[in-house]
């Protein structure tokens, strides 16, 4: 009897929960699925049309908080009745959802994607040309750095308006520099110095590494261009990476692993942890680590990546841009343009740079006294011009990277192949993809 009562209690609690949560507005027959269809309605006030657009991005960590604040402000301030509904989710989940959403026309009007996705999504017609943006907005496009604006073109057509742009930087731990008898204010400038410093700072007994090299072929690009080599020939029809310059870089990278100056097989996130924990002397990465370094009370420096011994510097650059999907109606496209225009205003761009550490890329912002007085902005801003897109405008890039370049680089670091074999196989892989 007692058991029966308990049984009934449990069941009725569950039912009650459903009723309560249901009644407080949980169950709606159809919530605003936002996307392309029927997301416009007439606002009660003044009969002005209000437009709602969905906006997806993968800024899940702390930078997403700042992004959300900025768009909340846009929603409150704009006088066109535009509401941007921002949905943040991990990048992986975003791409999983995006494909069927595009296929069914329920994709968001506005998207944030990295420059490396432009060729893929543009060539499949999933994002639409934004060439008319600058004329429409009335903004003077000349004040925004040209290499940044050009980073989101595919076959000469603009498919994205930049949101942020960065290149790669060298982070170094000043405490470890000092312990190793090096000047904490003088990071390595050349390959030779990099090798020397890495050796000096490595201390196995303390599990301390001089230099961190993560997985991923971009670690090669960090040095390859400086060294005078390149992945492809100038008209991007054939691999050019089976070259002495490439082999030199690969040899250097593999030696770091052989000598134990870098841990092997670590992902970017693993190495970030090592840096934060004070176990890593030097590390090359983007500006997103700045806030993490600060939070972890790390005594760190940030500056240019060591260049080849002849002083030539060129590093991979990249960024994120606002893109409009094929699911957007004309009205939603204009609403998206308004939002992007708001982003390009001086105050917003400045706020993003100051709070998030990303270098400014518009003349207006660069000239701002606060930016000029900010040590990090002052260091990173001038480095933007050394940035260059790897494999620019090639829809095949991602395939080459994930099928050949990244796995081969991993094999190199695990010492499964020699630098010569690695260079040769990478060239073969690139050519195989190009031929298809």
């Amino acid at each position: 009897m007692k058991a029966k009562r308990l049984w009934l209690t449990v069941f009725s609690i569950l039912l009650a929960v459903i009723m309560i949560t249901g009644c407080t507005g949980g169950v709606q027959t159809r919530t605003d699925s936002g996307a392309a269809d029927k997301s416009t309605d007439t606002a009660a006030t003044g009969g002005q049309k209000s437009v709602k657009i969905q906006f997806w991005n993968g800024f899940t960590a702390s930078d997403g908080d700042i992004l959300r604040e900025i768009f909340d402000r846009f929603n409150a301030q704009n006088d066109k009745g535009i509401t941007v509904e921002m949905d943040i989710m991990p990048w992986d989940n975003l791409f999983e959802k995006l494909a069927p959403a595009l296929a069914t026309g329920t994709a968001p009007a506005l998207l944030l994607l990295g420059s490396e996705y432009v060729p893929e999504y543009a060539s499949t017609g999933n994002i639409i040309p934004m060439d008319d943006f600058w004329d429409w907005s009335g903004l003077n496009k000349e004040i925004y750095a040209q290499n940044v604006r050009d980073a989101f073109k595919y076959k000469g057509t603009t498919y994205g308006i930049p949101m942020q742009y960065n290149t790669m930087y060298l982070y170094w731990n000043k405490d470890i520099f000092a312990e190793a008898g090096l000047d904490p204010e003088k990071p390595p400038k050349t390959f030779d110095e990099l090798k020397k410093y890495a050796a000096l700072m490595t201390d196995k007994s303390k599990q301390q590494y001089g230099f961190g090299i993560a997985l991923g072929h971009s670690n090669i690009t960090n040095f390859l261009w400086s060294n005078g080599g390149d992945w492809l020939n100038s008209d991007q029809t054939e691999a050019a990476c089976n070259s002495p310059e490439m082999i030199e870089v690969l040899t250097m990278l593999q030696e770091f692993a052989i000598n134990g100056h870098t841990p092997v097989g670590m992902s970017g996130a693993d190495l970030d942890n090592l840096l934060f924990a004070g176990q890593l002397g030097m590390y090359i990465n983007g500006p997103w680590l700045i806030n993490g370094c600060r939070q972890n009370n790390l005594n760190f420096g940030i500056g240019a990546v060591p260049a080849a011994n002849n002083g030539n510097l060129q590093v991979p650059g990249g960024g994120c841009a606002y893109m409009v999907t094929s699911s957007a109606s004309e009205e939603q496209k204009i609403a998206a343009y308004e939002a992007v225009k708001y982003w390009l205003s001086k105050d917003v761009l400045k706020e993003w740079s100051m709070r998030n550490g990303f270098p400014a890329w518009s003349e207006e912002v660069l000239a701002d006294p606060d930016i000029k007085n900010d040590l990090i902005q002052n260091t990173l801003g001038p480095l933007t011009k050394y940035g260059r897109l790897p494999f620019a405008g090639m829809p095949e890039y991602k395939q080459m990277a994930s099928e050949y370049l990244d796995p081969l680089f991993e094999q190199l670091m695990y010492q499964q192949i020699t630098p010569e074999e690695c260079a040769k196989k990478m060239a073969e892989g690139i050519n195989a993809v190009l031929k298809k």
Partner: protein, 300 residues
């Protein structure tokens, strides 16, 4: 007329269908239809954007046979299953024998051992990945204290998969344990009493009474564990992403990588891999199902 319908619904066989109807309806709409759609894709050359469908017949399957990464993933999956299912079930059984009693302490242990099962794999994967970091992780630290200097744990190509298997056993042994405890408790005491009179020792008892009576329960555990081991995804996704050197790339992970990660996002090809995965699991688990059903009726 009305009476006819009434008596039709009263028939035992009809009752079975009526009781099954809601489940079958739901499974048909939300599982079989998407599944058929998906397997249909295996015969097309199509990306996840579903723009151009090109019928290619069996080409995807032919390509698959020559795909090293597919064979590697199949090998890894089998390796993982071989580690997790026998070890996991033996471990669960041993633990179940230890905690089958009804004392407060044993009940406490049972509940505690079950706790990892109710946690999310994502959260536990993150925790374990930090604990197993070769430099700043707690486990590596302990191992170094024991005098082993070069500890790479998940970064060691030979250790990565066994460690993931160990983590999986940690996460899931509670489930099989609780089911086996139930099986053990269901064995009537009279069986043991009778054998005591015959003078059988503990080992003899275990092999002659406990094990045969547990066959159905073990069958359930083995079948369900095998199915979930073949579909392993979350652990490798969170902890290694298939690395190092593809040593932990499983079939489910490969399906995902082909379809969603590596451009040009070949959904058709990914579907053909999934199709093969499905066939393999189906064959093995149906064989197991019949094996255990037979054993159940025949005895050991």
């Amino acid at each position: 007329m009305f009476k006819n319908i009434r008596s039709y619904f009263q028939r035992t066989e009809t009752a079975a269908w009526v009781l099954l109807f809601p489940s079958l309806l739901c499974l048909t709409i939300f599982l079989f239809i998407p599944l058929i759609m998906s397997f249909g894709l295996a015969f097309f050359d199509v990306t996840i954007f579903l723009k151009q469908f090109k019928f290619v017949g069996l080409d995807n399957f032919i390509e698959l046979l020559q795909d090293d990464r597919f064979w590697n993933a199949l090998g890894n999956t089998v390796y993982f299953t071989i580690m997790v299912v026998p070890c996991g079930i033996l471990f669960s059984l041993a633990v179940a024998l230890f905690v089958q009693g009804n004392s407060l302490f044993q009940r406490f242990l049972r509940v505690s051992y079950y706790v990892p099962v109710i946690c999310s794999m994502t959260a536990m994967g993150i925790v374990w990945a930090v604990l197993m970091d070769p430099t700043i992780g707690m486990f590596a630290f302990w191992i170094r204290q024991l005098g082993f200097e070069n500890v790479q744990l998940l970064k060691d190509p030979n250790l990565a998969m066994p460690l993931i298997a160990a983590m999986t056993i940690w996460k899931t042994f509670g489930q099989n344990m609780i089911i086996l405890v139930a099986g053990l408790q269901a064995i009537p005491d009279e069986y043991y009493d009778a054998s005591m009179i015959d003078g059988a020792n503990k080992w003899k008892q275990f092999f002659h009474i406990t094990l045969p009576s547990l066959i159905p329960t073990l069958g359930f555990c083995v079948t369900t564990s095998t199915i979930s081991s073949f579909m392993v995804f979350d652990q490798t996704y969170v902890m290694t992403r298939g690395g190092p050197l593809f040593r932990t790339e499983t079939l489910a992970q490969y399906v995902y990588t082909r379809g969603f990660v590596i451009s040009p996002f070949r959904l058709g090809y990914a579907s053909s891999v999934a199709f093969v995965l499905f066939i393999v699991i189906a064959a093995i688990s149906i064989a197991m199902y019949y094996f255990f059903t037979k054993k159940e009726t025949e005895g050991l």
